[in-house]
């Protein structure tokens, strides 16, 4: 029999039981839609969180520190070495210290970081209000929102206010023979960043070096080429330093989301198994109903493999119909919810996110997988049908 005719016959058989076909296909459709929805939710969430952390540029930056070593130092000499590594394009240090930050009568404990604009650029710092230091010869500071809040400064008049900072300089930042010391300085607030964790402020690096600091707390180095990152990392690690990068955080997040995806897919998988059982049931019932008909078809001379393919095709057609509807439904739900979130975000003035995301190749993969599963589901009933003995079947009422 021609394949096109088998397809036609399968289609007619399904069409003559519209209700049953539609219900069975809906089972498949809903489960596929569920899987698509879950996967796009997982991927969307993953994308939102990694996007939030970084832009692609940040992947080319490594953080270098001495960890707990008492023998290593990051000083101007080491910075020079970093810069001279073949593939490093920029290297900048920072210093951190405990400090008391005061404004008017209130004073709080916090951390003061000495770092320049270049370092802030590598850090991809986002200002909430104000600007970076414009002239490092003037004593300027950038504070975070936690500091602002604890010093009771309001959004409107935080900029250009003068704060006093008492810095404690630990001995390991200083020359070998020097003891820990403190110094005090006044700064004009030029910028605020939105971080709300714990109070800290940024001041230009020279504030520390002017006060005798020679060893830095850590450094950032940047490679122009993403492919050089791993090599540079190895080189710096061989010098004894501890290296970390945003990539590790992203890897961890991705690892978490991979597990999350597996869990989501297993939930979806359960739905698909249930749908397949439904389909299997339908095919078996339809086979029992058609026993006599199949027997007669064989008596007329229909080949076994034609009967086999007829039943397999019925299963695949139900699967195809169900999964196309399901994939459309799943993708549409994601798109609509994205649109809803967008609308909600723009009315409430928040930043919008695309919470549901699914790449087209994955959609095609899901389609192919559900077709394959429906093919598998059809195999057993099809084999049973092909083995029906025509005489027994025609005696069957």
């Amino acid at each position: 029999m021609r394949f096109s005719y088998l397809l036609y016959l399968a289609y007619r058989n399904l069409f003559s039981h519209k209700m049953r076909t539609v219900l069975t296909a809906s089972g498949v459709g809903i489960s596929v839609a569920f899987v698509v929805f879950l996967i796009s939710f997982g991927l969307g969430l993953q994308r939102v969180s990694t996007d939030q952390i970084t832009n692609l540029d940040a992947l080319q930056v490594l953080d270098v520190s001495i960890a707990k070593s008492k023998l290593l130092f990051i000083n101007d000499e080491t910075m020079n070495k970093f810069t001279k590594l073949g593939n490093v394009s920029e290297a900048y240090p920072q210093v951190s210290s405990a400090a008391k930050i005061s404004y008017n009568q209130s004073s709080i404990d916090g951390v003061v970081y000495g770092k320049d604009n270049n370092y802030l650029r590598l850090e991809d710092m986002k200002l909430y209000s104000g600007q970076k230091y414009e002239d490092i010869s003037v004593d300027q500071a950038i504070i975070n929102a936690a500091t602002q809040k604890q010093l009771s400064l309001s959004d409107n008049d935080v900029l250009n206010k003068e704060i006093t900072v008492d810095v404690v300089v630990r001995s390991e930042l200083l020359n070998k023979d020097e003891k820990a010391k403190t110094f005090s300085k006044k700064f004009k607030i030029v910028g605020v960043i939105s971080d709300k964790s714990a109070p800290f402020i940024y001041v230009p690096l020279h504030i520390f070096t002017d006060n005798g600091v020679v060893n830095y707390s850590n450094a950032k180095i940047r490679m122009d080429n993403k492919n050089d990152v791993n090599q540079a990392r190895l080189q710096v690690e061989n010098m004894g330093f501890k290296v970390s990068s945003i990539k590790e955080t992203i890897d961890q997040i991705n690892q978490f989301f991979n597990i999350f995806q597996v869990i989501l897919i297993s939930f979806g998988g359960i739905a698909i198994v249930v749908a397949c059982l439904g389909m299997f049931n339908t095919l078996t019932i339809s086979l029992i109903e058609k026993t006599r008909e199949v027997g007669f078809m064989k008596a007329l001379g229909t080949m076994r493999h034609d009967i086999y393919w007829l039943f397999t095709l019925e299963s695949v057609l139900i699967g195809a119909f169900g999964s196309i509807v399901g994939v459309t439904l799943g993708v549409m739900t994601g798109v609509l919810l994205n649109y809803g979130i967008f609308a909600l975000a723009s009315t409430s003035g928040n930043q919008s996110v695309e919470l549901f995301y699914i790449p087209i190749p994955l959609v095609l993969m899901i389609l192919a997988a559900s077709l394959f599963v429906s093919l598998l589901t059809g195999i057993y009933p099809a084999r049973r049908a092909a083995r029906i003995s025509p005489l027994d079947a025609m005696r069957y009422e």
Binding site: M1, Y5, L9, S16, E293, F296, L300, M303, D306, M394
Partner: protein, 256 residues
């Protein structure tokens, strides 16, 4: 294909068939020998359970015999595999049963065309030929009906259309009038008669009705799995070349 050579179109030789019923072997056919020549109209008579239907099913290749053989124009069908026998049924046999069997999701004309579809015809040609066949039997107006919407007599006539659409050598009918009223039954029997006489197709029919003896050229009486007696009512010795090679290439009204 000169029939005067005397080669039977169906040759049954020492056919035996046992069925396993519980622990017992039941002998249903106990050694049947039968020669059917091209152009014959053979009716098998016999009581229920005498083995008529088993003999018929064995001849069309559905029931493997315990021993003995069936040969179609000298070619044995039980040393082929199942698919090859299916092919023989596709090409050489037309079948009419007591109760019409339909592919329920297909309409009348598609059911009639089905045997052609099995052998790989394209759909348009098959439907065209099926429509032509229905026309020969004045059934064209029912082409788009669901078969079960038709009366019993009409359904049997559509079954005959389906049985002859592949231009078979032999038409096998298992009590084709068993469920019909006498008027429809006569009509159906006359169709078989004209297919036999005008197109010289061999007909093998199982019946309970002794009145039909008059249609037959050969009457075979069976009893307890054996042939009781054979009456040759008319000697058939045809030259097949003189008859249409395509059963359906007949003028409208010739067959009915």
């Amino acid at each position: 294909m000169n029939a005067s050579s005397g080669l039977p179109i169906i040759g049954v030789s020492d056919l035996r068939k046992n069925f396993q019923v519980g622990k017992n072997q039941v002998e249903v056919l106990k050694g049947i020998d039968l020669r059917i020549l091209p152009g014959e109209f053979v009716i098998l008579f016999g009581h229920s359970g005498c083995g008529k239907s088993t003999l018929l099913n064995t001849i069309i290749g559905l029931e493997k015999p315990t021993s003995g053989d069936i040969a179609l124009r000298g070619r044995s069908i039980y040393n082929m595999n199942e698919d090859a026998r299916a092919k023989v049924r596709q090409d050489r046999f037309g079948m009419v049963h007591q109760q019409s069997n339909w592919i329920k999701s297909l309409n009348v004309v598609e059911n009639v065309a089905y045997p052609l579809m099995i052998s790989g015809y394209n759909r348009r040609d098959a439907i065209k030929r099926a429509e032509h066949t229905l026309e020969l039997f004045k059934l064209a107006e029912y082409a788009k009906y669901t078969p079960t919407e038709l009366s019993g007599g009409q359904q049997q006539k559509v079954s005959i259309c389906r049985a002859i659409i592949n231009n078979p050598w032999i038409i096998v009918a298992d009590e084709p009038t068993g469920n019909l009223d006498t008027v429809s039954a006569d009509e159906v029997m006359n169709i078989f008669k004209s297919i036999n006489e005008k197109a010289q197709r061999t007909i093998l029919m199982v019946s309970h009705n002794p009145d039909y003896e008059r249609f037959a050229t050969k009457v075979v009486y069976m009893k307890d799995g054996l042939i009781d007696k054979i009456i040759n009512r008319k000697i058939v010795n045809i030259d097949e070349d003189q008859y249409p090679s395509d059963l359906l290439a007949m003028a409208k009204g010739d067959l009915i």
